[in-house]
Symmetry: C3
Subunit: 646 residues, 3 copies
């Protein structure tokens, strides 16, 4: 377990570098990330390289006993590079070229930019690939930030056609897969296919889904280029920092090319941008919501089923949310340990010192604009003192997450309030409020380590996935399946009634789906208990399953809401409606008890997290909490955290 | 009275066609609409026609005893056609070309597209014009859907100038009519006139109104081309399916070219998109609001004063509203009979079978995605058994509707909450809640069949119209005139104080108009009764009229709100303010009583409709209703309907 | 003190001119503004001048004893002029050319348009520069209306680069000033710099701030061109009519080139567009909010510290707000005298007669569409009878206003609810509700006339400004400083911790700033009194200052909210948080008392204004008010006004 910091030596006078490094070391920092936006200083003019300053800076850090994460500077190509070509800038979904003057202003499919990337990456890999002070790499920075995954430029149009031809071989196959006979959208040739923006009305969702896949693959192949070049010269691990609640590319697929997944954790900005109700936002104003943060921790742990890093940890205010409150006293310590508890190996603060100018001028750092320590320094120092080595996470419950289901359901929301992230959050929140650790994994991953697997919206399903899940249940696994599952094939079309290939496992069909306006809710009956739901209802028609609860609305004609059936040594529970965590818990608790998974009802804002070697009990509330759980009897101050070391 | 269905043989394997046809017949369906989106199958490549499959499909339907509505496929030109020309795609109001990939992607003023239309329409008219299984035509599909009436491309710019030159002859006449001296907008020549989009601030509303007229005429002349070509080869009636609450072209003018008006009735999508309050939307969640539906029925009956068809009737969920609830059990029967009660000759369900892919995949049909019957099948069968032949509607009350007044008042709303549709709905709702049938007619149509004519916002008035209305009143008609009437000439400018040429008839002038922010309401006094209004107030200054109610606000300086005067054998009542149905009824009831028109106060959600041969009593409420009216004493279940046959 | 009217002889038949002029004189009007939109009538075709009609019209007015304000017609270049060049139309922030068809459709940096401006202005200056009936000039009309200050066309790109080169000399200086090292935004050459629109994410705020300055300077230099040409031929004073709550160009800088500042006062449109709460808008529905109006009066008086004109005074409804209520009876009189009380020399009504066509058809005038007097005529006549000559305003309190602080803080709002105008309004409202007159001046102006100077958001501060303020306080001035002050240098970057160069004067530093979501409020403690704030908090850390109130939130770690320190003969009070007027008054009252400035607590909607010769007491409430102040005991009717003549 180590701390780190993001550092921009190019922003500060050289005489400050040495004292900065000394103070970093003194605080207890181990890692220092550099250079991800430094291209204009590394190459002020085309071909005129100037790495001396970076050499000296890295040496200074190394001499202070710090380890450097070296970044490729490709997120910010300089103006001379942009002006040299006419195919580097992106085109937005409105068809407008996106200009130079901020960052991420390049198209992943620009041949020119790939060539420039090759050149600068090779230079850096060569120069720092075996440098003693360097110990890890980061490619680029926050791929996709500012809506840059999906670019609508001529490069992308051309490459999309190539991608489609590789996927489908013949145009007739594409026409059939996309159901292009509808509205005479059939093509005679791949060269006729446009990008799916600015169509008269919505484009074919199969067309759009393939474009999303292509755009995701474009990011991945661009990143592979960088990884390959680095690895040719260096054996240090390669990482990239992904973002929160960002699903424009497939992170599971992307993660395969990296040694370390890192992410950028800004709890207050995340809270402000979330759709949580105003009173929840007010309650967690200065810490963020604990589950909103840890859902992302657990998801990114799951990308490679291994510890991750927080590459950028909010140390004070951010500048980019609509409003930007100061974190609570203690929040930085809380967030840091929460990350470790959920499987982080490194927490690295963004940034060493607040920027004195430009877009992020209002963003706090460990130090203020004048270089004096800001309050996060104190908390970081305390965290450094509290660290110890930990092992892997140990969890009995898995939540199944798939980026393609995010795309497919949100391309056809059908109910205004539908949100794939929102449904995931509802399940995740329910499980964590029961004191459980949760692994987040891809549906096609090995589920055998888990007693329980929960699949909230398993929308696109083929035979292989159905068999994979049946086999899990047959061997004793407990599966919980949520709404909209098994509705479509991977082509984003319907082949048989939902749940399609899952019908045997679930023992039911879905006769209809109901999609309610925000503000409308309705009820189900479980025995004589009335429970509510909103937004979405799958009308379940059991063939072999047992009914646990039914809808009360006569328009549903007696449809079941929740069903269960045994299958081999295991069982499958289907929850047909979108519902809030409190109602989910009504159905999940008996399942957990039957699996002898220990549950503990936690108060709002209090959570547990366990890792080999240490358990964490943390309180995100602005008030003291007395805990009287079975194993844990303790009092937590506001924003406090306790350890239970093993 | 017949049922129909929309069918896409090109979507399904040929072996299903015969059993499909048999089942249609068995349910009680008579009409089957085909081919409106089939161009890419009829002509997969330029000039390579392939009608064999359509021939076989039509034959199959005919052999089963079904009658075919044959459509021209022009709503969806294939990609090869789009690529062949550079002048077919539309340009949107933002100046962006609208791409291929959905539907309605053609400009009505493209010479190339008119030529292609001529070619394909002639082929179809020749092939099916006398086919025994075919019995009617539909041109294109839903002209104007997805904001496609008003196109901002170079074709339209060029043709707009021609249209203006034909209308005005000399540029000086246009400058004067548009009041172009204001802001130095005068032109020297027709060739200088741009389309009225992307101007620095709003364009001249006279310029915009003429552009709306031109765009409307473009749709009409495009449709005339198709009608003419079909009629050269066929004597079957020609129809087109228009949309709900859609006013971008003048349907009265358009209707003259057609034999049958048909429309597409989607009550739940209509409700979701309406501005009705959330509690009303919740109450009518699964049926839609009855008056929202029947206002459109009555309007389209009025287009030709003859029975219309519902060409597309919602049979389950739609896919295109923000949220898409399942209809109530019984709603499909209710909607079907409501249509017949309001003057439909045919109700045709959209669609036979749910689409397995593409944009409308989430839209229900009579059958599910797997081809098995969905619940609407049961209700359609029941409707078929309940049908009988009916005559014309019989109504004593006319509501005057004019698309140009819609355009002119909404181009200069003046009050944020102003809506022409909204005001029409308010009057219509008041009348129907009194148990009345309502004819909706153009202001210049023959009004002699009606005891009462109601004109809510008769904004653009010339001498001829004033004379027409005076003559109606002189001969004993009762006219009710609402706010904003007589304000402008047909050029969209003011020539004298409102009500302009109507002043003699109304016996008053309008000294000022007040335009209130949403949320503000104020009061009028009728005797000692205080009534409220909002949004709009015409300040009436009677010259010869009698005052029935006055505004209380001192800013209005004693203006009258409601006035009345006798004229010849009839009377004219002026209601100066925008108001809710309950207040309107206070003024309408005495008028109706004086005309000996029988009224019955109906509960919310319950309505009556009458047609020669049968009366309908229907209940859109989700609860039982006991009716104790003068003529009708009965109990209606939730979503139930009763007949009173003559 | 005089009345005026805006008149468009070109809109009306020549036979009406003489009677119109007679009636103007009869009402008591002295000034008549003409010709600002008349270009297409003055020059119907390129080079074919036709000034005869204007000559005759001016003669007619002069013969009636009226004085003419002659306008250059450059706000509306005719279509032939636009078509003659390809560089006149503006390009909007979305990159779209803005078309002809309304007004203000020219770019200030178009060389062609400057040439045409030179030509037409010279012709007019020559023709009317010594005309007896003419007595003043207006350049153009409402520079910047419809978002036209900031144009994104190639002219502006080119000129922006020139402007930057003149400002910075070397590109390295620009890179450093803008902190372009951040995100590798460094340039090698001025020719590389784009306009800051359509960047991938937000542009560098230093880049944007310089663009705003450049755009402001473009308006100013365009106006200088006109002033210079007029003055070559005429000695009549030159004016321009600026707008309400409009800050896109620097009015202090702009005002230097003019002899008279005039503005366009539309209280009801201003209220509708303001962010005031719905209940305040309802209360002041038919008068507007008095402080919303007089803040602008006082600001524009302050531009040159001399009486201004209201060039366009709302006389009835406007047409351009979302909703447009009728003014209260008496409102026109109230507004007119309010203007005189706040320092107007002329109030000129817009317009003589309502336009019968085009964009402003729904805008009232002194006369109705048919030429008969509208109600404002009566009130104008009364005002004329009540006028007397007055001297300068006499005020002890100054509010410091700077357009660059408006731009800089709104470019980086940080809190969603931040508004520079809103904060100014809060302070202004507090001061006026205490019965005080307020001078609004630029921070760098001579403050010695004022006992108290209030600086709500003095964001950009350099050494010179700090010294200027220190000197004011040293000599006995009382300074009140609000949030966000001293945060940045003029380059829009941070050089030292806030308040930067003001630290010595204020005796504190700002350790952090808190930026709260709308709806969140928190508290401060002043002694044992709890007061609330919202939106913004500067966390004050006194070095030498005394603490008057502290924040209660533990996240602030004991920070002070309000501090005070003596400095030389004066004192400086710092109010760190955004707060409502009632809380501001708690801190301002003791300060005012210590300065022996007399205060009087006024009821809502009642205000005082004083000018040498006359004091005004006015009541904007829709109800009667009994005043029992120290000096003033009187009863005011609804919308009434009383004078206290000296």
């Amino acid at each position: 377990m180590k701390l780190g910091v993001c550092y921009y030596p190019e922003h500060w006078p050289e005489e400050t570098w040495k004292p900065d490094a000394k103070r970093m070391k003194d605080i207890g920092i181990h890692w220092v990330r550099v250079a991800e936006f430094a291209w204009s200083r590394l190459e002020p003019q085309d071909g005129k390289l100037n790495f001396d300053w970076l050499d000296r800076s890295v040496d200074t850090l190394g001499e202070a006993g710090l380890s450097v994460v070296m970044c490729t500077p490709t997120a910010t190509p300089p103006k001379w590079l942009i002006d040299k070509y006419d195919d580097v800038l992106q085109v937005d979904v409105q068809g407008r070229p996106r200009k130079f003057g901020s960052r991420r202003h390049y198209c992943y499919n620009s041949a020119s930019y790939r060539e420039e990337t090759r050149r600068i990456t090779s230079v850096m890999a060569e120069r720092y690939g075996k440098h003693e002070a360097v110990a890890a790499w980061q490619t680029d920075n926050e791929y996709g930030c500012h809506d840059t995954v999906r670019c609508y430029c001529p490069n992308c149009e051309r490459e999309f056609r190539v991608w489609l031809e590789q996927k489908y071989g013949a145009i007739a196959a594409l026409n059939e897969a996309w159901w292009n006979v509808f509205w005479s959208m059939e093509y005679n040739d791949f060269s006729q296919i446009d990008l799916p923006n600015l169509t008269t009305t919505e484009a074919n969702p199969s067309h759009s889904l393939d474009f999303y896949r292509f755009a995701s693959d474009s990011v991945i192949s661009y990143n592979q280029l960088q990884c390959k070049l680095i690895r040719e010269k260096s054996s240090y691990p390669v990482s990239h920092n992904v973002m929160l609640y960002f699903g424009d590319f497939d992170h599971f697929k992307f993660a395969k090319d990296l040694d370390i997944i890192t992410w950028d954790n800004y709890p207050l900005g995340m809270l402000e941008q979330s759709p949580l109700p105003a009173e929840v936002k007010a309650h967690f104003l200065r810490t963020g919501h604990p589950d909103l943060i840890s859902l992302i921790h657990d998801l990114y742990y799951g990308l490679k089923d291994q510890p991750f890093w927080v590459m950028e940890q909010q140390p004070g205010q951010v500048n980019w949310a609509p409003s930007n409150p100061i974190p609570a006293k203690g929040a930085v310590r809380l967030w840091s340990h929460q990350a470790f508890g959920h499987g982080a190996d490194v927490v690295s603060y963004f940034r060493w010192r607040a920027a004195n100018g430009a877009q992020e001028l209002m963003h706090a750092g460990l130090n203020k604009h004048d270089g004096t320590p800001d309050r996060a320094t104190t908390e970081a120092r305390q965290v450094a003192n509290e660290l110890r080595m930990l092992g892997k996470k140990q969890t009995e419950v898995a939540l199944l997450f798939d980026y393609e289901n995010l795309w497919a359901t949100e391309l056809q929301k059908h109910a205004q309030g539908w949100s794939y992230w929102g449904l995931m959050f509802s399940y995740y929140h329910a499980l964590r409020s029961l004191g459980l650790d949760v692994a987040i994994v891809h549906p096609r991953s090995d589920l055998s380590p888990y007693k329980l697997a929960v699949a909230p919206a398993l929308h696109l399903v083929d035979e292989a996935l159905a068999k994979h899940l049946e086999s899990y249940v047959n061997q004793g696994g407990q599966l919980v399946i949520g709404p909209r599952s098994g509705f479509k094939t991977l082509s984003n079309v319907v082949q048989e009634l939902a749940p399609g290939p899952l019908q045997n496992l679930m023992g039911l069909t879905v006769s209809h789906v109901d999609a309610l306006r925000p503000g409308i809710s309705d009820t189900i009956l479980k025995g004589d208990e009335t429970l509510s739901y909103s937004t979405w209802a799958d009308l379940l028609r059991p063939t072999t399953a047992e009914v646990l609860a039914s809808y009360t609305n006569p328009a549903y004609e007696g449809a079941a809401a929740v069903c269960q059936q045994a299958h081999g040594k295991g069982r499958c529970l289907t929850i047909g409606m979108w519902t809030e965590p409190e109602v989910l818990k009504v159905f999940l608790k008996p399942v957990l008890q039957s699996l002898t998974i220990a549950i503990q009802d936690l108060p709002e804002g209090v959570r547990l997290a366990s890792r080999e070697g240490r358990s964490y009990i943390y309180n995100f509330n602005p008030h003291e909490v007395k805990l009287e759980l079975q194993d844990i009897k303790t009092t937590l101050n506001a924003f406090d955290l306790k350890f239970k070391d093993q």
